[in-house]
């Protein structure tokens, strides 16, 4: 019975699906797995760049009154560090898992719109390259990842720096929105028979809600960036105080996007943890429905707390009260999630493999970030903490201790599925301990210096304020944290050379991706499975009396797959060039714009009329 699920060969022996090779096949691919891998590879590369920026920042701050970096260089580095980690590191790393895992999790052969998926990838990649290209001109963005008006205006930021930022973010926003529509439809429409909404793996739920957040919050930043762009390029008055424009408008628009963005960064990680905890506890996820509702509730509240980023603006006692209480409320569903993860492990049989190390590390560290989050939900206390290193500590506990730990856990968990070989356990655990210790060395002291009065975004600090020792510890921690990433890469290298073949299901997984060979064949499922519970594989395994046979690789002949297409890549170039054209307008007039728009229309036209089978 089980084997019939796991893929009988199609009867028609017409065209077997072979793995495509060569650069061209990657540039034109519409396979969600390849797109996922490319998302992951580029995200990790950007993550390393962002990390390098962090190391330069830490080096500058290692001692007081240091002049290793000029103030301008420092401002560019911290702006790019934040922007890179959020938009080019964590988001696309999550996107890697969306791409690779959602279709596998729901038993689909691809996403709803494979070419749109390729388009998202290329727009993201070109946007990331464009943003970083600003370094070559010495004009990297320097106004902070939050780009507060009116410092970002042409008057106070006359260079190209903030143009790069505004255009780069617009480009990346298009990638996110396109992917958001795609995954939203994929999850609703492409589920295998029997995969009801409340049977979906928690990761799919988390991803689904993340897409909703993207769809509803990105348009707001798009509008804010349009305003900024118009102010800078066409002399409009959106944020110009002299004509009545109000810099507060930027803050509201930015944080109406910015707070949901925080959940866009962390919810996929919640999903990953919700997959790993049950498998390595050998027990189903505790309180599945509560987890789904908690996630939805967090997302919902996420739209009603944006002004807690603005307590120091003095909005008045009623607004402060509302946003304080709403923010505190978020602690409840978040707590529910943490307790349910603990409940999952409680009474289980915990298998201490590397993914579980990182998942447990996530639990420990994210809890701390959550607690410090509640601490500055109290508006009066936040008046001391906001814009201090205490906040820097808080969001690194949430986004590094949270998101990066979870994403690393996910990488260890799914690596065998994606690449067909196991990662080395010993190096994996070394990686974990080094990262765990280095992480705390780097970020824990930031709580202390923050409370002792060290503001954020300062390129140096004077001696004698008591910051010196803590900053030195942080810098040492940061260097070790960098080293831990080298250990990660060393693991890839060693494991690839050793190439211990991964079975279809190395961990005793519960979800559909473990039912097919590692790595999956291009069509994913020889036959689309039918699902009867939340843990289909565990059902089948029990029915089979303990162990499932290794699924065979099948020819897949007769399975329809969308053909490769070149147009998504070309359309992505069109989009990117359109935004670059805005920057060239002053110099070259409308011609670059006309050329790029033509390229985009040509690509979309050909895309629309391209035969899909």
């Amino acid at each position: 019975m089980a084997t019939s699920v796991l893929g009988q060969a199609g009867t028609a022996a017409a065209t077997a699906h072979h793995e495509q090779t060569g650069l061209w096949s990657w540039l034109t691919t519409v396979d969600h797995k390849r797109i996922g891998v490319m998302y992951g590879a580029s995200a990790f590369l950007f993550f390393l760049i962002g990390g390098l920026e962090a190391l330069l920042i830490r080096w500058q701050l290692a001692k007081p009154d240091n002049n290793f970096l000029s103030p301008e260089a420092y401002n560019q580095l911290f702006t790019m560090h934040g922007t890179t980690m959020i938009f080019l590191g964590v988001m696309p790393m999550s996107a890697m898992f969306f791409n690779y895992m959602i279709p596998l999790h729901i038993g689909a052969r691809d996403v709803a719109f494979p070419r749109l998926n390729a388009f998202s990838l290329w727009v993201f990649l070109l946007g990331g390259i464009f943003l970083n290209a600003s370094f070559l001109l010495g004009a990297a963005p320097d106004g902070g990842w939050f780009g507060y008006a009116n410092l970002s205006s042409k008057q106070y930021s006359p260079g190209l720096n903030m143009d790069f930022w505004a255009m780069g973010l617009q480009i990346l926003g298009i990638a996110s929105l396109a992917a958001g529509v795609n995954f939203f439809v994929t999850i609703l429409n492409m589920r295998a028979p029997g995969m009801k909404l409340m049977r979906m793996p928690m990761f799919v739920w988390a991803s689904f809600i993340t897409q909703l957040l993207i769809l509803l919050s990105f348009p707001v930043i798009t509008v804010a960036l349009i305003f900024l762009m118009f102010d800078r390029l066409f002399g409009t008055n959106f944020f110009t105080p002299a004509t009545g424009g109000d810099p507060m408008l930027w803050q509201h628009l930015f944080w109406i996007f910015g707070h949901p963005e925080v959940y866009i960064l962390i919810l996929p990680s919640f999903g990953i943890i919700s997959e790993i905890m049950p498998v390595f506890s050998r027990k189903p996820l505790f309180g599945y429905s509560a987890m789904v509702f908690a996630t939805a509730f967090i997302a919902f509240l996420g739209f009603g707390v944006w002004s807690h980023h603005m307590f120091s603006t003095g909005m008045g006692p009623f607004a402060d009260t509302f946003f304080s209480l709403a923010t505190m409320l978020i602690a409840i569903p978040t707590g529910v999630k943490i307790f349910n993860w603990l409940g999952t492990a409680w009474g289980g049989s915990i298998q201490m493999k590397t993914p579980m190390y990182f998942a447990l590390g996530f639990l420990a560290m994210f809890t701390m970030g959550g607690i410090s989050g509640v601490m500055h939900s109290a508006a009066p206390a936040d008046l001391q903490q906001t814009d201090s290193y205490f906040v820097v500590a808080h969001f690194h506990y949430v986004l590094f201790g949270g998101a990066i730990f979870a994403l690393t856990a996910g990488a260890y968990y799914w690596w065998p599925k994606m690449f067909g070989h196991m990662l080395d356990e010993g190096i994996g655990k070394l990686h974990f301990w080094l990262m765990f210790i280095a992480f705390n060395l780097t970020f824990f002291p930031m709580h202390i210096v923050g409370l002792h009065g060290m503001p954020r975004r300062v390129y140096t600090y004077p001696a004698g304020l008591g910051f010196e020792v803590w900053n030195q510890i942080e810098t040492v921690g940061a260097l070790l944290l960098g080293l831990s990433q080298l250990v990660f890469m060393w693991n890839w290298w060693v494991s690839a050379r050793k190439a211990t073949p991964a079975p279809a299901d190395p961990w005793g997984g519960a979800t559909l991706e473990w039912a097919i060979p590692s790595p999956p064949q291009v069509f994913n499922f020889g036959e689309v499975p039918t699902v009867a519970s939340r843990e289909p594989l565990w059902d089948w395994r029990r029915a089979a009396g303990g162990k499932l046979p290794e699924p065979p690789r099948v020819s897949g002949a007769g399975i329809h797959l969308p053909p490769n297409s070149f147009w998504p890549l070309l359309a992505a170039f069109g989009v990117t060039f359109i935004f670059i054209s805005f920057m060239l307008m002053a110099r070259f007039g409308p011609w670059p714009m006309i050329a790029s728009a033509s390229l985009l229309f040509l690509s979309i036209f050909n895309w629309a009329f391209e035969p899909t089978h």
């Binding site: 795609n182 609703l188 002399g235 008055n237």
Partner: protein, 210 residues
């Protein structure tokens, strides 16, 4: 356990709504937030101007003593609004023509829809030119900045809609917009309705509210 449609070319959508239709609904949901932000900004900045010209009141520039007429002229834009609303009705008829396989009905009503769209865009181009002559530029004041940005982005949406419907018109003329492919028109029509609905919000908020 093996499923009958394992090799189906297009697996049935779980929700029963075609992927592309669901996608356009999703996109429209997202667009709501886009226009909400633009309209919200317009409302926040309404009446905060330190200098004119103003939408409904005269203004004398204290520096030059020059008199600026109120900017808005309601009759023309009301007519444009009506035309745009009718086009929403026409596109429904065009869709029904496509679904029935009635080519003449399809071509007639789709042609009218596009004509209405073009008229609306033309009206806006005229209006913008006229307003600039009356002294309201994009840079002049908050009113100019927010008015042109909001209505300009709506106009861009209408223009893209016209191009989209135009491409479908070419299909229809070549006889390729058959009953089986009526969905192509249906999703364009959904977008077109959305653009109209947005205008139904913009029109009173921008032009009528004093």
């Amino acid at each position: 356990m093996a499923h009958a449609d394992a090799h189906a070319i297009h697996p049935e959508p779980v929700t029963g709504i075609d992927n592309r239709k669901l996608a356009i609904w999703t996109f429209i949901g997202s667009e709501c937030l886009f226009f909400a932000s633009l309209i919200g900004t317009y409302l926040v900045y309404r009446g905060r101007d330190t200098k004119g010209p103003f939408p409904h009141a005269e203004w004398t520039d204290p520096a030059t003593g020059k008199l600026f007429e109120p900017i808005f002229e309601i009759p023309l834009v009301t007519f444009g609004t009506a035309v745009l609303l009718f086009s929403s009705f026409f596109v429904v008829l065009a869709l029904s023509g496509a679904q029935e396989g009635n080519r003449r009905k399809l071509l007639t009503w789709l042609g009218l829809t596009i004509t209405c769209g073009l008229f609306f865009v033309g009206m806006q181009v005229y209006e913008f030119t006229h307003f600039v002559h009356k002294g309201l530029t994009l840079q002049q004041n908050l009113f100019g900045t927010t008015f042109y940005t909001l209505t300009g982005f709506h106009g861009t949406h209408v223009t893209l809609g016209v191009i989209w419907l135009g491409a479908l018109m070419v299909e229809a003329v070549r006889g390729k917009l058959t009953a089986e492919r009526a969905l192509n028109l249906e999703i364009a029509a959904l977008y077109w309705h959305f653009v109209d609905v947005v205008w139904i919000v913009i029109f009173p908020v921008v032009y009528l509210m004093k």
